[in-house]
């Protein structure tokens, strides 16, 4: 009996796999914009793109009031992400010590389409926008401006499938959504 056969078989560790590409149909049934709709992706892809982006921007909105979701926003902010806090979401981030800036989502969409916008910090525009926690239809409409009138990559890591993004998760249950955010966060460079 050779050594190989004598070796104790390695016990496979069970890894919980989540699939964020399921349910990739517009969350509001009628929200079908046209021939180009978002590619459904697994969390590692937006995570890696965020890690590699030159000037990424995270946009979060009024639906980050959930404590589990808020905790992920804070983690991403602590990892160095600049945050555009739209709607009334700033009130949840005010005391968290993040690089967070209040913005009106509609105005922000307009600024992002303008190559001359200096950004929140005066260092110029952004090459990647990632968002979650915004009223579904509101986010969908705002990013339709980016889709059609800008060259910025837009990724939804929300619990809804957003057809107007370049990439999006499908429609997710909350537990899957939280797990997906954790997988995105796992890809971010440690600060």
């Amino acid at each position: 009996m050779n050594a190989k056969s004598q070796a104790k078989p390695v016990e496979k560790q069970e890894v919980k796999v989540i699939d964020t590409t399921r349910g990739a149909v517009p969350f509001n049934t009628g929200n079908i914009p046209g021939p180009k709709m978002a590619r459904a992706v697994m969390p590692a892809i937006p995570g890696k793109m965020l890690a590699k982006a030159r000037r990424p921007l995270l946009i979060v909105g009024s639906e980050i009031d959930d404590k589990d979701v808020l905790a992920r926003v804070v983690t991403m902010g602590k990892a160095g992400m600049q945050i555009a806090s739209v709607g009334d979401s700033y009130k949840y981030l005010a005391d968290k010590g993040l690089d967070a800036h209040y913005a009106n989502m509609h105005a922000l969409a307009s600024y992002l389409c303008d190559p001359g916008w200096p950004g929140f910090d005066g260092k110029g525009g952004y090459d990647l926008v990632v968002f979650f926690g915004i009223t579904y239809y509101y986010a969908s409409q705002a990013i339709s401006a980016l889709k059609n009138f800008s060259n910025i990559k837009v990724i939804s890591i929300d619990k809804y499938y957003h057809p107007n993004a370049d990439m999006s998760f499908g429609n997710l249950r909350k537990d899957v959504f939280i797990a997906a955010l954790d997988e995105v966060i796992a890809q971010l460079p440690k600060k």
């Binding site: 969350f27 509001n28 049934t29 009628g30 929200n31 079908i32 914009p33 046209g34 021939p35 180009k36 909105g61 009024s62 739209v86 709607g87 009334d88 700033y90 009130k91 005010a94 005391d95 800036h101 209040y102 009106n104 989502m105 509609h106 105005a107 969409a109 307009s110 600024y111 389409c113 303008d114 001359g116 916008w117 200096p118 915004i134 009223t135 579904y136 239809y137 509101y138 409409q141 705002a142 339709s144 401006a145 889709k147 059609n148 009138f149 429609n171």
Partner: protein, 789 residues
């Protein structure tokens, strides 16, 4: 010799011009350069607006299917087969939306004008209350001062002709530039204001509506106000002509204690303006809910905001529908020439589910008689769409929590959670949903388990519906000249922080209560609150701990800290017209045919902002766009992004905020005020500081600026938990700072690099510009004195 209409001069009396025509309106000399502006007459003004407030397009679809070349894929702003790109197509849609809304109000006005001229004669005098400037929009746009209702004929002729021209530009192969589509959309919006003004002034003048009455009486409002044991008549829509005959008949026959009569949507406003015995159920959001309750015994429809399925829904519950306006006829037989008794027999027997009836006298007689006859029959049968207690339990138990209802709901309401709670006997979640639900019924179609979801929500909410009893001060009409004289100075100098106009419909993102909450916050801060339409109704639906509505707590005069209701949808014209009155009465600006100068004045000096928190209709978009052309910023709720176009300023582009000083034509770089012309907000907490910010104007004096800045900072700190990032932009000297926070704010300014003389407590260096009390901000070069020379 027969004298014809026109002007002539008699030889030897060259200084005397004799005018033959209608009293007042014809032969008047315009004071400005653009009486009866054609579709590009005001293009320069529009370009000035568009250069600063860039159109932002948020398409709902990326394709165009307007002609047989298509469908064309315009994704990424590609061109379609005709050459139009997505930007152009989006602007064309904005124009069409504006035209639709404008046509709606104008056709309403035309219907009323024809009817009222027939009834009262074209020489019937205008009477809107204590006002020399009776028709400010008509004067500013047409260059005439109408005196009689007949004087409005050429006004509507003009609007209709212009709308036809505008519609023509949307055909494939016509206009192609987004910028010019937007100019035309602004034109359509302006026409909308004009059409509305005609409609409301003539009904105020002829039908005995309140005339600038700050103490107009209260009307009852809510789904719980009617006695369902009595026969119930519900009028739905916007046009008072037919309901007035019903009210007259009931009055004459002493039937108000025998029959309940109320309105849904803006018809309700005008019914209460016409007869104090009428009541209000509420906005369009209540339409389907109230019909399905089974309480109405007769439905009377006229025009606008009438659900397309109203006949189908009514038929299920044996509620006859009387269609009284040519615009909405539902395929029903026209019974205008039949006898009242014959029609009633056919409706009571169910031979016909309803009737088109265009004879107002017959409508007046038929509807009460029909209600008295069919009411007892329907009530004996207990007709309602709502499930009984046993069925309710079965229905909620059927829910599989698939979320399809949530996905189809315009507000994405968590209906399955309420179903689960109801299974366990807890109806509280449904009771919360009742207010948030806009009553569209899409959930019924989406449920794979065939649960009639809306009926379930309403059944579960019977307790709160019974308590739904509010009060609304009925529509007062215009703001009178004396009120403008009293308040105009405060507005222009900023010592009244602003006028906030709550207008539009009930497609609220998070329920009706939001509007109440926003109004309560802002009125406590001394903003003048003007309301109209469904917003005016919804403001009156809630009470404080003492059981009082906002209308009962705050008076209705046009002064700070008051709450005014102008009336129905067409009464929105008076809100826009108020800014013209300020320019004319307070500042002495000429109005006749002088749109650009007036709009320029309003944009730079009158801190008025419109808020259409639940806007859903094309009409609301047209109203907003018309206000924009007049220099009034408008904020819409988050659903407003589906209008696909906003006008958003870029505060970081300094060159966009140059204005001229009217004294010498010099260029002054000013703070972004107002920062946007049409924009949305996501939540009520976000919108309140935004409203305060949009009230800033370059003309504010220091006291006024300090007051406005106080509210902007306080509202931001209260609702967003932060000092606004841009508060310092609005500081021109230390006197602009809120008194209570002056020192800490000066320290913050110092941290930003501003130089402060702490001994004198003065700002030495830092502001964008200094305060100049004589500053005459304008965006129109020809209005500058040096240029005029």
């Amino acid at each position: 010799m027969t004298l014809k209409k026109g002007s002539f001069v008699i030889e030897g009396l060259e200084n005397v011009q004799i005018n033959i025509g209608n009293a007042g309106a014809e032969g008047q000399i315009p004071e400005g350069p653009t009486p009866r502006p054609e579709i590009i007459s005001l293009r320069n003004w529009d370009y000035r607006i568009l250069d600063r407030y860039n159109p932002v397009y948020t398409p709902t679809g990326d394709t165009c299917d307007f002609c047989t070349y298509g469908k064309c894929d315009l994704t990424g702003n590609k061109e379609g087969a005709c050459g139009i790109d997505l930007e152009g197509q989006s602007a064309r849609q904005a124009l069409l939306t504006s035209i639709m809304g404008s046509a709606c109000h104008t056709a309403h006005g035309r219907h009323l004008l024809n009817y009222l001229i027939k009834k009262y004669g074209e020489d019937f005098p205008l009477d809107v209350g204590p006002s020399n400037l009776q028709a400010p929009l008509t004067e500013t746009i047409m260059g005439i001062q109408p005196k009689t209702i007949g004087d409005f004929r050429p006004v509507l002729d003009y609007v209709e002709e212009q709308l036809t021209q505008l519609i023509a530009t949307t055909n494939t192969g016509q206009e192609g530039a987004a910028r010019d589509f937007e100019s035309k959309a602004l034109h359509a919006g302006m026409l909308d204001l004009l059409g509305m003004e005609v409609a409301d002034i003539i009904q105020i003048s002829c039908m005995g509506f309140p005339k600038s009455d700050e103490k107009a009486p209260m009307a009852e409002i809510g789904m719980g106000i009617l006695d369902p044991k009595k026969p119930v008549v519900i009028c739905v829509g916007h046009n008072i002509a037919a309901p007035a005959y019903i009210l007259d008949y009931m009055d004459k026959n002493g039937q108000f204690d025998k029959i309940e009569i109320a309105g849904l949507c803006c018809t309700a406003h005008d019914m209460t303006r016409y007869n104090k015995s009428a009541k209000i159920i509420g906005s369009m959001s209540k339409e389907l809910k109230y019909i399905r309750s089974g309480i109405p015994d007769v439905l009377v429809t006229d025009e606008q905001c009438v659900r397309a399925d109203i006949l189908r829904e009514a038929q299920k519950l044996h509620i006859p529908v009387i269609a009284t306006n040519e615009k909405i006829t539902y395929g029903l037989p026209d019974r205008s020439n039949d006898s009242v008794d014959a029609i009633i027999d056919d409706l009571v027997s169910g031979k016909h589910p309803g009737a088109v009836l265009l004879d107002f006298e017959k409508i007046g007689e038929l509807v009460p008689k029909l209600a008295m006859k069919i009411g007892p029959i329907r009530k004996a049968k207990g007709l309602t769409a709502l499930p009984d207690d046993e069925n309710f339990k079965k229905l909620v138990a059927k829910c599989t929590k698939c979320l399809q209802c949530t996905k189809d709901c315009p507000e994405s309401l968590p209906i399955p959670d309420a179903m689960v709670a109801a299974v366990n006997g807890d109806l509280s979640l449904f009771e919360v949903l009742h207010d948030k639900c806009v009553g569209c019924g899409r959930c019924d179609y989406s449920c794979p388990a065939d649960i009639p979801v809306l009926n379930v929500i309403e059944k579960a909410s019977q307790r709160v519906i019974r308590e739904e009893k509010g009060k609304m001060r009925i529509g007062r009409g215009q703001i009178g000249d004396p009120e403008i004289r009293e308040e105009g100075r405060n507005l222009v100098l900023g010592t009244t922080p602003g006028v906030l106009a709550f207008v539009g419909c009930g497609n609220y993102p998070d329920g009706t209560k939001d509007v109440y909450d926003i109004v309560e916050e802002m009125i406590k801060r001394s903003y003048i609150i003007i309301s109209s339409g469904c917003s005016a109704m919804d403001i009156g639906m809630f009470k404080d701990k003492d059981g009082k509505t906002l209308y009962e707590r705050y008076p209705g005069r046009f002064v700070k800290g008051n709450l005014l209701n102008t009336g129905s949808c067409v009464s929105n014209a008076h809100i826009a017209a108020t800014t013209i009155k300020v320019a004319s009465i307070f500042a002495g600006r000429k109005t006749k045919g002088n749109w650009e100068e007036i709009a320029d004045y309003v944009l730079n000096r009158v801190g008025a902002v419109g808020i259409a928190w639940g806007a859903y209709s094309q009409k609301a978009f047209a109203i907003g766009t018309g206000c924009n052309r007049l220099g009034i910023p408008v904020v819409v709720g988050p659903h407003g992004t589906k209008y696909r176009r906003a006008f958003i300023g870029k505060p970081y582009k300094k060159e966009d905020w140059n204005v001229l000083d009217g004294r010498d034509g010099s260029v002054v770089n000013v703070e972004p005020a107002p920062e946007h012309l049409m924009i949305t907000a996501e939540t009520k907490d976000e919108v309140m500081p935004l409203l305060a910010k949009l009230c800033f104007r370059p003309s504010d004096n220091s006291l006024g600026r300090a007051i406005k800045l106080t509210h902007y900072i306080e509202l931001s700190e209260k609702y967003l938990k932060k000092l606004p990032d841009d508060w310092h932009v609005y500081v021109r000297n230390e006197a602009d700072l809120p008194v209570a926070k002056r020192e800490p704010l000066m320290k913050l300014l110092e941290e930003k690099g501003w130089k402060i003389d702490w001994e004198k407590k003065k700002i030495i260096e830092g502001p964008l510009r200094k305060v100049d009390v004589s500053f005459q901000p304008t965006n129109v070069p020809r209005l500058c004195k040096e240029v005029v020379k």
